[in-house]
Symmetry: C2
Subunit: 411 residues, 2 copies
Amino acid sequence: MRSEILSVGTELLMGQIANTDAQFLSRELREMGIGVYYHTVVGDNPARLKEQIVTSLERSDLLILTGGLGPTPDDLTKETAAEALGLAMKEDPASRQELLARFEMMGRECTPNNFKQVWFPEGAKILPNPNGTAPGCLLDRDGKIVVILPGPPRELNPMFTDHVKPYLLERAGRIMVSRFIHIYGIGESAIAYRLGDLLDSANPTLATYVGNGDIVLRATASAAAREDAESLLVPMEHKIEKLFGDSILSWDGREMPEVVLDLLKRHGATVACAESCTGGMIASSIVDIPGSSDVFLEGCVTYSNEAKMRRLGVSAKTLELHGAVSEETAREMAEGMRRTSGATYALATTGIAGPGGGTDTKPVGLIYVALATPEGTRVVERRGNRSRTQNRRGAALEALDMLRKELEKRS
Amino acid sequence: MRSEILSVGTELLMGQIANTDAQFLSRELREMGIGVYYHTVVGDNPARLKEQIVTSLERSDLLILTGGLGPTPDDLTKETAAEALGLAMKEDPASRQELLARFEMMGRECTPNNFKQVWFPEGAKILPNPNGTAPGCLLDRDGKIVVILPGPPRELNPMFTDHVKPYLLERAGRIMVSRFIHIYGIGESAIAYRLGDLLDSANPTLATYVGNGDIVLRATASAAAREDAESLLVPMEHKIEKLFGDSILSWDGREMPEVVLDLLKRHGATVACAESCTGGMIASSIVDIPGSSDVFLEGCVTYSNEAKMRRLGVSAKTLELHGAVSEETAREMAEGMRRTSGATYALATTGIAGPGGGTDTKPVGLIYVALATPEGTRVVERRGNRSRTQNRRGAALEALDMLRKELEKRS
């Protein structure tokens, strides 16, 4: 099946937004084994839009139109598509009732211009929109499918996932199952290199995405039945496990902070952290997870030497002999944090985040990460300079990863 | 002048990346007063690409092609454009020398496939690429301009800004000047409403963007001379100042943490922070600015009551009587932080970030933000629930904004 995506909106042509709708739909279609041959963006101009719809339908079997379904006179996508297809427009009474109910719920008046949102080309299947006022629609006739979706991603994405995807899969007699596998500590290109041919696999498909400091693999299988799709994933999962071992953070979409929090809860353990160069990033990433108060006791951002001594009991001698950026200081920070907080584990970071402050012996990017446990303390030295934010984020993730590996060892 | 953007790349059609090149170019062209009528994406397929180039050149005066300039056999944009225009390809000896020098500098061998990157359609102006191996090019003939740019944004953006934009401006005899104005504490739609007709202004143009917790206004004037462009901006700046007053963070692109840091430096003052619900976000946003160690002393993420008492001296009685989320606790946290750290100012936050933990009297989203100064302490109460991350980020910015207004009052 040949498909293409035609997006309508002057805001795209003015550069106010990027065309993330086309990206989302392309990923989804690719996973379903449907080739995407063109993305096109046109403005709110009926003549150019109609011409493009005609051109697109000549060359494609599936045309997805996005945007231009709203209540303003500029919103002409459905009307123009109907004209291009030689169809009349009809009001959908059920959608009208839902629209009125929606406005009543919001306590706002439903002005007459809103009703154009419940008119559709005749014969269209209506696609409900629980996240906005404009439903979408789908036409399947003469071997061509035309899908019309609202532009805002928070309306378009669920409408595609909940209605269009099932329709296309059912039409093709298929079921799809996906896994989101997070990998930490290996770069995207090294991962792609190791995966090799697996990335060309047609079913299951496999794709890599840059995550939040990690890399996400998305593996998707399709089959006539769910069990068959699940079984298709098994050999690929085994290969991925073999290739990446304990660099795999999770098989279910969880990221580092959530993985570490879940491990702490499982062990009935608590954590505290003492941060210098990461400056609150570790604490903040933990606190960002709901329920973190069960296991996270406290954090100190001891940026000055004075604070390192006063808050954590780092000795003046250590700071003088080895400097604030040293294995010894990192160790004393972690141990001091563990002692003063009463937490099971304590993490500490100290380093030169840059861009200034580096020396020949202690260059920018040199960061010490320490983990204090009931049995003792380990310190890891990181080198390699990127941007200040990247250096800090790298150290924060490294600290959490030390704790993750420690906890997994005990599982 | 009618323009359009034609992007070449299977990675776009597979949804691996969004077409941010088209967004960037559209913004830039709009500012220059050049209308963009179409975005199109095609894959690495020479027949479809050639057909699209012919179609685009029939309807547009300026065609910008992006992507497909690399060393692999799939990269065929220049070759296909030359064929569509009836031009031969020629090697550019200067570009060849630069390519060889670049590989030597990287200590890598320049394999023969790389040389296709220094072949261009005859008569093309070469656009140097200091950020990659593939130069771009520009053809200006028979009233049509064709610009060919590399796909990666970190190569395309500076190439456009440094070479294409000046070329187009010089061709039109124009100079452009932009201001980036950051506004805090007012939503984008309220800002747009207040700006009204100003947003339709043709010269200077004015556009709003959602920033990092703030809103950015970009005002751009074009004229034959720089002074004329600068003068065109003045009345608009006055109107903006009148509309938004002290909600204006900066006129030069600086964001909240940098503005606060600069104010602290100017006053020779220091800051420390005690964070509960924001959990290190304030500290982290300050530490993210190079040179923050001059004014930032330390932070405490006192998530548990025990930590609030031990680190900051919050009294057990206050916690018992008013609870951890209260005006009184926020006040004692800020004052305790100021006292123990010795900083000129201390910020504190305590609240219910959600999604759980709310009660009838203390709902999710209730957050207290405190600022302790040499003259006394102020506490602000925030209400209104969004996501956990948004509640936390909102409180962190609010705290910094309190300090900003305090410091500006003293200026």
